[in-house]
């Protein structure tokens, strides 16, 4: 009596459930749309006040706009080149530290290490990856920076207490696990037959790794490095705590530089009125950051994916 073909309760319920599932999967899309829309919208308002070329190519950054309209020097200058340079400098130092350490650690773990060593070292590297960046920042600011300063003094170098080197070194250790785990994956994906062929020709293990395994794994490793670079560029807390605020255009790692993320935080925390060029500038910087990391990520994911299919 109750179960008739016309009721089809199951079908109706299942259609609703599927609808909910589809709706929830669009949240991820909406997030991206929200990010792009909010960054673009605010950045365009910023570029309405400050010409885009001034922002992209200007070399002077002093966003301190006046609080009252009648103050002298009411308009700040928004040349973002020193920020880009500072970000690149710190990220480059980080990659210079993380690439050899991460890569050699991955090679050792994948090719040499005994299973028991691997079982110990891998979780330790994961701990390194799981520590909040604010902890790295604290360590960089309170231990590494003073230590570098002291060492610099001892050898007669003038090291700033907010040197790019301190932030870069600590950031390098932070992204090491990322590089090592991604490299580990691609090295393990290289077929054993290729190694056996090399051994059969009389090559030692290191020769095999250098001449056979690494060239074969290179695209995947490059993808990992790009992902690490995007991580370094977008990293915030370490540089907020350990890098400087003043925008210096320098390539000297012993001096203080500032980065895009540091400036976003400085512009948006503390008392301010919204809608001023100062706060809008943060969104313009955020847009640059988003676009840069997105390009790096897309290329990296593409390389990693393409490479993975090669040997499957």
């Amino acid at each position: 009596m109750y179960v008739t073909p016309a009721r089809r309760a199951k079908k109706a319920v299942e259609t609703v459930i599927k609808g909910i599932l589809i709706a929830s999967s669009t949240v991820a899309i909406l997030t991206t749309v929200g990010i792009v829309a909010s960054l673009l919208f605010e950045a365009l308002r910023f570029f309405g006040e400050i010409p885009m070329t001034d922002f992209l190519f200007g070399v002077e950054w002093s966003p301190q706009t006046a609080i009252r309209a009648d103050q002298v020097g009411a308009s700040g200058s928004f040349g973002a080149v020193p920020l880009f340079a500072g970000t690149l400098l710190i990220s480059a130092i980080a990659l210079l530290v993380a690439t050899p350490v991460g890569l050699f650690a991955a090679i050792y773990l994948a090719e040499y290490a005994h299973v028991s060593v691997r079982n110990w070292v891998k979780p330790i590297l994961e701990i390194l990856a799981g520590i909040p960046t604010v902890v790295y920042g604290f360590f960089a600011a309170l231990v590494v920076a003073p230590w570098l300063r002291g060492t610099g003094e001892a050898v007669g170098l003038d090291v700033s207490s907010e040197s790019a080197l301190a932030a870069g070194l600590v950031m390098g250790i932070m992204i090491t696990p990322l590089i090592s785990s991604l490299s580990d994956d691609v090295i393990n994906a290289v077929p054993q037959a290729m190694r056996d062929g090399s051994f059969g020709l009389g090559a030692t293990k290191s020769e095999t790794i250098r001449n056979v395994v690494l060239p074969a794994a290179l695209p995947g490793i490059m993808g990992g490095l790009l992902l690490a670079a995007s991580r370094a560029i977008g990293e915030t807390m370490i540089v907020v705590m350990a890098a400087g605020l003043a925008a210096n255009l320098t390539a000297n790692p012993l001096q203080a530089v500032t980065t895009v993320t540091v400036q976003i935080v400085t512009l948006l925390t503390g008392d301010q009125e919204f809608d001023s060029a100062k706060t809008l500038a943060a969104f313009a910087l955020g847009l640059m950051l988003f676009v840069t990391t997105l390009v790096l990520n897309v290329i990296a994911l593409h390389i990693v994916k393409k490479y993975r299919e090669q040997y499957d």
């Binding site: 929200g34 990010i35 520590i131 604290f138 090592s180 976003i264």
Partner: protein, 417 residues
């Protein structure tokens, strides 16, 4: 013949060099791992050594009189001051007295007030009570201030050291467990500052984050793995999720600021907004982990369900999802641990203010544990640097527990098909 001998000799000669190269190469790997591991060890030790002291706080045994006059005036610090005058009766002039009063924390009066509120019969009585000292005396007791340094170089004067020594001689000054660290909110005075406010902020934000990201993440994963047709749209969603996972966290903060605060006019500094931003940030992590868990369920389970006449939804809800749940939970816990350690997006939405009150609801202004660490790390006082490290110990402790739970869950329910 001679030629081949010389060839094998040449190979022999080269071998030693090649073996050395082999050893060197191997050494590079060991050095790399040693660098990473020793950095971790140094960092954790440095923070541990700095922070361990903050779990104790210097207390002084003062004989205080709850006299009616002070109680009526609500001048609780006055009671402390009177007790100090009694302890050191020979301190005469006003300037010395003011220095004397500074030995005790300005929060000592609150302690007396709380005691009186709990037990009004204290009025008029004399009691010996352990009260917190000021942060400088605390640092002196912990050895962070060098007694032998010239007087101008340290924050404690010779006179203060004499008073402290007098207490020491009477066993009236002692390091006691610092309960305040766990029971109070932020404060300008290091000896009164605690992490409870920040902890509650984190807890409230994380619960919002969990309530949003867990169901959303799992539903998305189920859709993509079990239902979605392979077409452009689902490809787009997939690429999109992978990219979102690598977007810098501060960008999510900008999104929260522009959309949640400026467009939807939600309150600044509120855990509800923080939770929403963190949810968007952890969503990709949870989706990726949940999809892996779903993929690990063998197709034979699904086929058996279909064979029994179950519909697709029934198959997923009754069979696939329960089997994939441990893996999904593991991924979710790891995502939550990430969210707990995240501070950059919270800075953008104003959860970085100086907040004394402990947040009680989702819209109260609050901060979060990592943000509190960031705030304290900026304070110049030595005692705050100690508390920063202590807060890090607590935070890392929570992260370790969460990750351990994830590992145990994985071990306990892991199924090999």
């Amino acid at each position: 013949m001679t030629d081949s001998i010389s060839k094998s000799e040449r190979i022999q000669a080269g071998l030693a060099k090649r073996y050395r190269a082999e050893k060197r190469f191997r050494l590079y790997g060991i050095v790399a791992i040693a660098i990473a591991v020793s950095f971790l060890a140094v960092m954790l030790t440095a923070i541990g050594v700095r922070g361990i002291g903050a779990f104790q706080q210097t207390h002084v045994a003062l004989t205080v009189t709850f006299d009616e006059q002070h109680i009526q005036d609500n001048d609780w610090q006055g009671i402390v001051k009177a007790a100090m005058r009694e302890t050191f009766p020979d301190v005469g002039n006003r300037r010395d007295k003011r220095v004397l009063y500074k030995l005790m924390s300005s929060g000592a009066g609150f302690d007396l007030q709380n005691m009186y509120r709990e037990d009004p019969s204290l009025a008029g009585q004399v009691r010996t009570i352990w009260l917190p000292s000021s942060d400088d005396i605390d640092m002196l007791m912990k050895g962070a201030i060098d007694r032998n340094a010239p007087e101008d170089d340290r924050r404690v004067t010779d006179q203060e050291i004499v008073w402290v020594d007098q207490w020491l001689a009477n066993d009236a000054i002692e390091l006691k467990f610092n309960t305040r660290l766990f029971t109070s909110g932020d404060s300008r005075e290091p000896e009164l500052a605690g992490i409870l406010g920040a902890f509650m902020g984190s807890l409230l934000s994380l619960s919002i984050c969990f309530l949003l990201s867990f169901p959303l993440g799992i539903m998305t994963a189920v859709y993509l793995e079990e239902f979605a047709p392979k077409n452009r749209w689902t490809d787009l969603i997939e690429v999109n999720i992978n990219n979102l996972a690598a977007v810098p966290s501060i960008v999510f903060g900008l999104l929260g600021l522009a959309v949640f605060l400026n467009f939807f006019m939600l309150p600044r500094s509120a855990p509800v907004v923080g939770g929403m931003v963190l949810a968007l940030m952890t969503l990709p992590t949870i989706i990726i982990a949940a999809r892996a868990a779903l993929r690990a369920v063998p197709p034979s389970i699904r086929e058996a369900a279909y064979g029994m006449g179950a519909s697709q939804v029934q198959t997923v809800l009754h069979h696939v999802l329960p089997l994939a749940m441990p893996g999904m939970l593991t991924g979710t816990i790891i995502g939550m641990a990430q969210a707990l350690g995240e501070s950059a997006p919270l800075l953008m939405i104003g959860m970085v203010a100086f907040i004394v009150d402990i947040p009680a609801s989702f819209v109260d202004p609050a901060t979060a544990l990592p943000v509190q660490i960031y705030l304290w790390a900026d304070s110049p006082e030595r005692a705050f640097s100690e508390r920063t490290a202590a807060a890090i110990i607590v935070l890392v402790g929570f992260l370790i527990v969460m990750n351990l739970v994830a590992v145990i869950l994985r071990r306990r329910f892991e199924q090999r098909w």
